[in-house]
Symmetry: none
Subunit: 211 residues, 4 copies
């Protein structure tokens, strides 16, 4: 019987501890020793599994972002209307936050929005997501479903900007959180970006959504 698998994967323990510490204290404010303490391992062991403090955050980001990229890709492969695609993407991100708000806080606050530090490092990776969304938009434009005077790149930026801003709002308590709010947000993001804020003729003044 294999004895090679340790009872606990210390590397994983350290990564999970890092999420909590980064979320609580912020990447720059916390020390490597804080992570080791939180993980309950010796100082030096962190450097056994990771070459630097940066690499820990990089690892956390890449792990999660790849899941996101795959999710978008999978959504894009489906034969559904563009509105449903964008709804699925918004849903995935919102549900990620609902499921593990600490991890998403770290991804958003310490990487995605930290434009000048990790954001810069991972710009190509972040851009992949933009590009995938832009591709979705572009195809819908060619199909005549989306208007063509808004460039796909711009549309992707606006969509992602809205999603990121909403998550930031939750993280910093500018927006109320809760199951109802998460579901509402998915709908509102898509409605705003696809339908626009303006009331259309024939639209009911306070149109409810059809769940």
């Amino acid at each position: 019987m294999a004895r090679s698998e340790p009872a606990v994967d210390k590397r994983r323990v350290i990564l999970d501890a890092a999420v909590r510490v980064f979320a609580r204290q912020g990447f720059h404010t916390c020390r490597v020793s804080d992570i080791a303490d939180e993980a309950g391992v010796a100082y030096g062991l962190v450097y056994h599994y990771f070459t630097s403090k940066d690499e820990i955050l990089d690892t956390l980001f890449l792990e999660r972002w790849d899941v996101l990229l795959h999710a978008i890709q999978e959504v894009d492969g489906q034969e559904i209307p563009v509105r449903e695609k964008l709804f699925a993407i918004a849903s995935f991100i919102v549900d990620s936050y609902r499921h593990d708000p600490e991890l998403m806080k770290v991804i958003i606050v310490e990487v995605t929005r930290a434009a000048n530090t990790f954001g810069r490092t991972h710009l190509p990776k972040i851009r992949e997501a933009y590009d995938q969304i832009a591709t979705i938009v572009e195809r819908a434009q060619r199909e005549g479903v989306l208007r063509s005077d808004v460039t796909p790149d711009f549309a992707a930026l606006a969509f992602y900007g809205a999603v990121e801003q909403v998550l930031t709002g939750w993280i910093f308590a500018l927006l109320p959180t809760g199951e109802r709010e998460y579901e509402e947000a998915k709908y509102l993001i898509v409605e705003t970006i696809c339908g626009g804020l303006e009331r259309k003729e024939g639209q009911r003044p306070a149109a409810g959504r059809a769940d």
Copy 2:
């Protein structure tokens, strides 16, 4: 003639130098001595005018953000359609970037997007802008011009998120810059947020804008 005004306002010289240094190296990466060197003043003089490196960035942000808040307020006071109000606000921010991209880079990248450090500190001030925009949205909803199923807070977030993301795109060269692009962006932001990405019936497939 009054001789009371000094030939050069060293405080201003330091602030302007700080903008260049922060934009070039980033707030955390630069040293106070870099600012002093760039300003051509002695190290200690920085601390004669400011109590800390943080206070320099705070000052730059507050100076500029107050101008923005006043601009939004002034826009809100005018008797024009909501779409024009949002266009005016987007224009103001885009023009701010066109006029002084280094300063706006610092405001956006080092403060607004630095969610966990300065962003947190200035959250109340940043929120004022959100709230003013939300108020504009709310009024338009009551007038029946904007749909009411998107909450004003959410709409403000989406609008500001789009603007911020576009500026970030320029700053990090994800989007092309230039006079034409700046003007285009103002239009696209408003079109996307107000009109929505979806092509409406009767809308030309690739509707140009009427300048």
Copy 3:
């Protein structure tokens, strides 16, 4: 008529302010600007009258210490018993404290007891006082009034040590202060050093003093 005498002697104003600031914050903790502020004069004026922060304290010490040296000298010139001489010296110091506790706090705490900084600088001057007291002791020993197995130097040190410790006790609230306590202290210092703590035969168990 002479116009040479200014309405206020700024130099004196600065010195008096320095006493209050040194007493309140301590020499090392206070800044030159604190002294200027307390004196109500411009920063630079302090350096017009004094070459350094040190010189201010030096001046305060030397002014006061010379008064003490003259007082001891004058006491020594009188034809009175040694016990009365020491009582007069103790009285002079205690009364100095009563009259201007802030100044004496500065002299004692910042100079006399600051053995490694100003104390070292002014050791020769401080030693003059020891020597004068030693001379008084020596003469009394030759007259057979004081015992000769205690060297004059040692006796002077013990006497001055007791005085300094009592003042330190008042300054740091280890001993109660007040008119009664000041008078009592003069008596107790002399009684302890001259008479000794031991109860002598024929002495009443709780001998009061004859005022």
Copy 4:
């Protein structure tokens, strides 16, 4: 054999080096790097064992002062005349100086006499010594051995003042040092404080002491 104990206790090495550096240069004048250099360790190791430069001095003082307090306590527990108790205490302090003059210089000059800095911090601890001595005096007064018109607090202050002044005299070369002088001092301190400077009837003019 246990290998758990390191060959050299670096913490101790740093403390011992600090004594030499503090004694040589003074606490305020020396830099942390001087201590590290003297100890032959890296700069940062000092901060591995101590949170600040202050804490090093605090540690040195408290280590030594606790030894003194225990010594006094032990002396007080013995069934010997008060004069012998005070002699034992003076002996302990004088022998401490003889054994490790650098350490005692640091304790006296940088802490005990630094009334406004460390002295203030450790006043409660210093006071414990005063109080223990005062207790010894008080008991002797009740037994009728010491006069009662000098309060125990005052007597303790005078005794400790004499001891401290003598050590200060040695430290600053106001008094000659040497084996003979150290022994002499123990005797003189007690003679002066207990017996008083005045020649008693029947006392030989230049009474030697019976060793």
